[in-house]
């Protein structure tokens, strides 16, 4: 197990190097640079931007620029943003990463708490009223675009009813203590539900069909025949097997969690990594693009690794050596 984990982690390194080369190449191949989009100010002499390009080394050959970036990276220096002037990439990402992680965990929690119980219930009582309503809800959840659901939620629950705040992560600037957390959670409700909607719907469907399969299998029949309690069968025997595909999905979800949800973040003006990422691409803010890409790469690799490890925890038949 440990050897397996270490081996997997070591494989990350060449993969990340490859990833960084590809992304760097692609980012540089895109037309424009951090200054081309800015030049539309008639009071500013474009010569100024040329000087800044020179100072930042953007006129050097791309391999030279990559080598410069990589050697700084190797010493743990992510560089300085070219768009958010005077800010280090690290501070930009830190500022937003927490928001993204809170929101991601919150929506994941909603997803799991809603999807798994309902999915299980549906499987236990297929074609019941609740099963049908859950199925309907599931398809609707998958069909409704995120941003639309978000806007409707803001209009109804925030502007009309005033239950939840519509924008941002926190109200007021009083920071610290219990008040801040209450405000943060309160602000997370709408974006959290919006973000978790599609996930909830699909996890519910997965859970239902997996559970139905498992409940029909031989060992469950054996367990029933042995007179094992229904609860025991459901939670101890069936759930463990039914949940494996969900774990696979969650492995990917871990990466998605860090990358943030660009659309949801925008609708709720919830400043997270997603918005930062898209802005940095638009502005050709190369150091930020590179840092976030690597972060996502690491997150997805770790997510998959964790999923593999969890397999062996829930299913003793799976062993790694």
């Amino acid at each position: 197990m440990y050897a397996y984990t270490i081996r997997r982690v070591l494989i990350f390194i060449p993969m990340l190097i490859m990833l960084s080369i590809i992304v760097f190449g692609l980012a540089k191949a895109a037309p424009g640079d951090p200054f081309t989009g800015k030049i539309l100010d008639p009071t500013v002499d474009p010569e100024v931007f040329e000087q800044q390009r020179e100072a930042l080394g953007l006129n050097d050959p791309i391999p030279v620029q990559y080598a410069r970036w990589a050697s700084a990276m190797a010493t743990g220096d992510f560089g300085t943003s070219m768009y958010y002037k005077g800010k280090s990439v690290q501070s930009l990402i830190q500022e937003r990463a927490l928001n993204t992680i809170y929101l991601g965990l919150f929506s994941l929690a909603i997803t799991i708490l809603v999807a798994i119980p309902i999915g299980m219930y549906s499987a236990r009582n297929p074609y019941s009223l609740l099963d049908y309503s859950a199925t309907t809800f599931g398809f609707m959840g998958l069909a409704i675009p995120n941003f639309f659901f978000g806007l409707v939620a803001i209009y109804l629950l925030s502007i009309k009813l005033g239950w939840f705040p519509a924008q941002g992560t926190i109200s007021g600037t009083e920071i610290g203590g219990w008040e801040e957390w209450k405000s943060r959670l309160h602000h997370m409700v709408l974006p959290g539900i919006t973000l978790g909607l599609a996930g909830t719907a699909s996890y519910m469907r997965y859970m239902r069909s997996e559970m139905l399969d498992v409940l029909k299998s031989d060992y469950i029949r054996t367990a029933r025949a042995k007179g094992m309690g229904e609860r025991n069968i459901l939670y101890k025997q069936a759930l463990r097997n039914a949940i494996i595909p969900i774990i696979t999905l969650m492995g990917f979800e871990f990466g998605a969690l860090l990358s943030g949800a660009i659309i949801t973040e925008q609708v709720f003006n919830y400043p997270g990594i997603g918005t930062l990422f898209i802005n940095s691409i638009m502005n050709r803010d190369y150091p930020v693009i590179m840092a976030i890409t690597l972060l996502l790469g690491v997150a997805i690799l770790i997510g998959n690794l964790l999923a593999d490890i969890f397999y062996s925890l829930v299913d003793p038949r799976i062993r790694y050596d």
């Binding site: 100072a55 806007l151 600037t173 309160h186």
Partner: protein, 604 residues
């Protein structure tokens, strides 16, 4: 086993309870707001009667108002380094220059109370207001003015990220100081604590413009190099940024809220408002938040989208300010292309330019101009909140002359006749005109994304041109960063392009956009008459007289509209809105944020 299950249940119950608690907290918090809203509306009805009473009671101190913007500032709050309109927004409350502009765009005293120029306008001496203090209580002096301009002339200023070199370029001795050849900065000199003189290399026709830049404090930045200055917390962080303005930038939640607190010792009197809070919101919910009273005003740099105008107008408690904007949208004609060598070396030499035969005849451009229904674009896309314009000088300027420019009123028959006459007729019956030599005549049109209305106008313009038989190849839109590269590196097949300019209010001189060797002259327009007029309008000493310049610009506007480097499509109105409880809003043609120290909130 059972224990574990129990734990799970307890956890679930706890979570549920927590959720309910949250819901309850939310209600507690929002409900007073709601009832306030209702009383607001009720009181609205008795508003008229109250107004008379209120005038006697006069302004009261206190209160907080909330403004909205659609995008967060990049985070640079040092005037000499900021770049974006979102930061300018906040800086217009926190920092001040020696002079400001009034309603008719004349420069008026601000930190300087009077000034005098010498005979040939090579220098101007300002007498500064006394008793002005920075947010931290230090006195403002002439040394701060010198320091600001010196920092912008520093050899490392551009490398540190500064872009406002236009303000220091004409100063005396700038070249030498900027090249690092001398330590003496002669451009701006402090004569004593409250007198400062600007020296220019050449007679300057608009010295006040150059002296209008916001001043930064020497006692804060004095010991830093410019490179350090750009990364210093004093340039970036709430509470550390120091100016002389009526409000201080005191608190922030990055990307969400920016809080300005009143400057008690403000030299024009303590502001009435306690705080102005900027909130970053999504444009899609703006109308709703205005309605619910969560935001109190929305103005520069966004304002209301024309499509939302009616729904905002329907709100009783909101006042809308609508006025013409200084900028415009245009359909450019590429008069010339550059050679590949010039593009690679970045050279702008009109002698090397290659004429673009497809639109090089001015009559052809005029015919195309008649074919475009600009009124229709304004009505359809802007919901009437703007107007077609024919002169690239904004209507608010003294230099604007409506008579001088040729007006291209929509007339497709005229367009067809003109093209027929010029020999552009359909020879192979495909429905599109060929050029006089019988060759295929297809105009390549490009446009950027980023401005929804402009994006929508592109296919409409294509359709209008095709209605008069001109084949237009409309290319896929590009995002602005990529688009500008294509626009600049024009050794390509571009013929028509869409672009918008947002322009300042300081001087109408159009050389920066339409001068022959201006980099922003993306049409690569080379008209000797225009070149001569633009020079003449800036030539001392005649140009010291505004009337002289006005005449020259009238002539130039005629040349522009006749030769058409671009067809100006429309100028969109700026639409700003604020809650009626906010009193003393006194908008200028270019900003709503005038005299914000006099703003106050009427208690409801």
């Amino acid at each position: 086993m059972l224990i574990r299950e129990k734990k799970l249940w307890i956890l679930l119950v706890l979570l549920l309870a927590f959720g309910l608690l949250l819901g309850a907290c939310g209600k507690d918090k929002e409900e007073p707001d709601k009832s306030e809203d209702q009383t607001e509306k009720a009181e609205k009805e008795t508003d008229e009667q109250e107004e008379a009473v209120e005038e006697q009671t006069g302004p009261t101190a206190g209160g907080t108002i909330v403004g909205a913007m659609y995008s967060a500032p990049a985070g640079m709050f040092n005037p000499i380094f900021y770049e974006e309109a979102y930061e300018a927004n906040i800086l217009s409350f926190t920092h001040e220059g020696l002079v400001a502009q009034n309603e008719s765009l004349e420069f008026i005293p601000s930190l300087a109370k009077s000034w005098e120029t010498n005979d040939d306008q090579t220098s101007i001496t300002f007498t500064l207001e006394e008793g002005v203090t920075w947010h931290d209580g230090e006195p403002f002096t002439a040394e701060d003015v010198v320091f600001t301009y010196q920092a912008m002339s520093d050899p490392d200023y551009v490398k540190a990220g500064g872009i406002r070199t236009a303000y220091v370029h004409p100063l005396k001795g700038y070249e030498a100081y900027n090249a690092g050849e001398t330590e003496d900065f002669e451009g701006v000199v402090a004569d004593d604590d409250h007198t400062v003189t600007f020296h220019f290399e050449e007679p300057n026709i608009n010295p006040l413009y150059y002296a209008s830049f916001p001043i930064i404090p020497k006692h804060i930045f004095g010991d830093m190099t410019v490179v350090e200055m750009a990364e210093a917390p004093e340039s970036l962080d709430a509470g550390k940024v120091i100016g002389t303005g009526p409000f201080q930038y005191t608190e922030a939640i990055e990307r969400e809220q920016y809080v300005l607190t009143k400057h008690e010792a403000y030299w024009q009197g303590t502001p009435y408002l306690d705080k102005i809070v900027w909130r970053v919101i999504a444009q899609s919910v703006m109308t709703g938040l205005l309605e619910s009273g969560e935001i109190d005003f929305i103005a520069d740099p966004n304002g209301i989208a024309p499509a939302d105008f009616e729904s905002v107008q329907a709100l009783d408690h909101i006042t809308i300010i609508e006025q013409a904007d200084f900028g415009y949208q245009l359909l450019g004609f590429k008069h010339h292309h550059r050679t590949t060598e010039d593009v690679e070396s970045g050279e702008l030499n009109p002698d090397n330019w290659v004429p673009n035969e497809k639109v090089s005849n001015p009559k052809v451009r005029q015919a195309l101009a008649y074919a475009i229904n600009r009124e229709g674009l304004v009505d359809g896309l802007l919901y009437g909140r703007g107007q077609p314009i024919d002169s690239p000088i904004a209507v608010q300027f003294w230099a604007y002359d409506d008579e001088a420019a040729i007006h291209y009123d929509f007339d497709q028959e005229k367009a067809k006749d003109m093209l027929d006459e010029l020999g552009y007729v359909d020879q192979d019956d495909d429905g599109f005109r060929e050029d006089p030599d019988g060759e295929e005549w297809v105009l390549n049109m490009h446009y950027p994304t980023g401005n929804e209305l402009r994006e929508k106008s592109a296919p409409l313009i294509q359709q209008m041109l095709e209605e008069v038989g001109v084949k237009v190849n409309l290319h896929q839109p590009k995002e602005m960063t990529a688009y500008v590269e294509g626009l600049t590196d024009d050794n390509s097949d571009w013929d028509l392009y869409l672009l918008g300019w947002s322009l300042g209010s300081s001087d109408p001189d159009p050389t920066g956009l339409w001068g022959v060797d201006a980099p922003y002259n993306f049409s690569r327009w080379n008209n000797p008459e225009s070149t001569e007029l633009l020079k003449k309008a800036l030539k001392a000493p005649e140009a010291f007289e505004q009337d002289f310049r006005k005449e020259v610009y009238a002539e130039w506007q005629h040349v522009f509209s006749e030769d058409l480097p671009a067809l100006l499509l429309y100028a969109q109105n700026s639409l700003w809105a604020y809650h009626n409880k906010l009193q003393n809003v006194d908008p200028l043609p270019f900003t709503m944020y005038e005299n914000s120290h006099l703003w106050w909130v009427k208690e409801e």
